[in-house]
Subunit: 209 residues, 2 copies
């Protein structure tokens, strides 16, 4: 098994933290996004969507998309559970994870990719080029602000995002908060619940993965 | 159990088709999106994100987000499987479903919500208002065109989107193709693989759910 990876990018980090929490060791292969290696023919043959992470199984099958990698690894290596412990919990984790992805991760990505020169002509991930739209820089920042507040409200009622345990929803949220640093945004001090949670999750050994 | 629903909207249809494929009957409660019922206090108490679908369990727990509802129902009612039959398959279904959601459903939604007067001030779902951005109308249409082509390529190599069986990835894709009619886009005749697949999936009894 090997994980096509790029150390600095947020989505591969979601996969790496999950792998570390499972106690697995998986060989990584660097895809140099800075040099456009994801658009080269040899990587397109691995993942036609030109994105990382992608997990190549021993039988040659490639699973890309963080959700795909997580679902595979959780079913193949159930302990410790990160996608929920029973039917209801699985639903609640998926609900929170999806919402954090839409309202948080996509918000920061919008603010970042429409701003940075390196993403000119590639404001969205994938093989099809899309131009940057300057209005999305501001919208992305506003959405990130609202996401931080939502996170703080939730973490005022619950120790972790989906309940009493650390789950995949926390992984996406912690990666999002750190990714927000790339657009020079951070959790404001007054959001004490979110800051308490962020300190806790980022002190787990997996956070360095 | 009851499903907070809006008949015409694409996301509740993803939940309804899944429920029909499982052979379940779940009471629905209409949330009148045309009148802004999703923003009223009584619905916010059910789902603070102000979106449908949302599934209220008999113990009073509410699970929103299509992914959350699917995961709960699949675990509680495993047959027939719609999220994959084993670890690898679960990964592949989640990969395709996520990609179809990002590249297809979000593309059409972008073209629609930034255009239609009724979404003024609410170009994104959720409680926080965001203004429409006219450039996203064109981008949404271009992304939808590219999505149709991707779908056709995939359905030239596989009977259904994630492999030999009908899965949740097909549900999101069929709902997306029909939703594209709202921005007056349809699968072009030359995309014969995608059209063959669309006829097949839309002739399943669940398509009317």
């Amino acid at each position: 098994m090997k994980l096509y990876n790029h150390e600095a990018a947020p989505n591969p980090r979601r996969a790496r933290i999950f792998i570390a929490e499972k106690g697995l060791e998986i060989e990584t292969v660097n895809v140099d996004l800075m040099k456009g290696a994801q658009f080269k023919d040899d990587f397109r043959a691995v993942n036609p969507w030109c994105t990382v992470p992608a997990l190549e199984l021993d039988d040659g099958t490639t699973i890309s998309e963080v959700q795909g990698i997580w679902r595979y690894l959780e079913a193949a290596h159930p302990e410790p559970p990160l996608l929920g412990v029973d039917a209801k919990d699985a639903g609640i984790v998926a609900m929170w994870e999806n919402r954090v992805m839409l309202d948080g991760l996509q918000a920061v990505a919008e603010g970042f990719r429409n701003f940075v020169k390196g993403f000119k002509g590639h404001a969205l991930p994938g093989p099809d080029g899309y131009e940057q739209i300057p209005e999305l820089v501001e919208r992305g920042r506003l959405r990130t602000e609202n996401f931080f507040k939502m996170l703080d409200r939730r973490l005022g009622e619950s120790e972790y995002i989906a309940g009493d345990s650390y789950t995949a929803a926390d992984i996406t949220a912690q990666v999002t908060v750190d990714f927000a640093g790339w657009i020079k945004m951070e959790l404001p001090d007054e959001l004490a619940n979110a800051k308490r949670w962020h300190d806790t999750v980022n002190s787990r050994p997996s956070a360095k993965a």
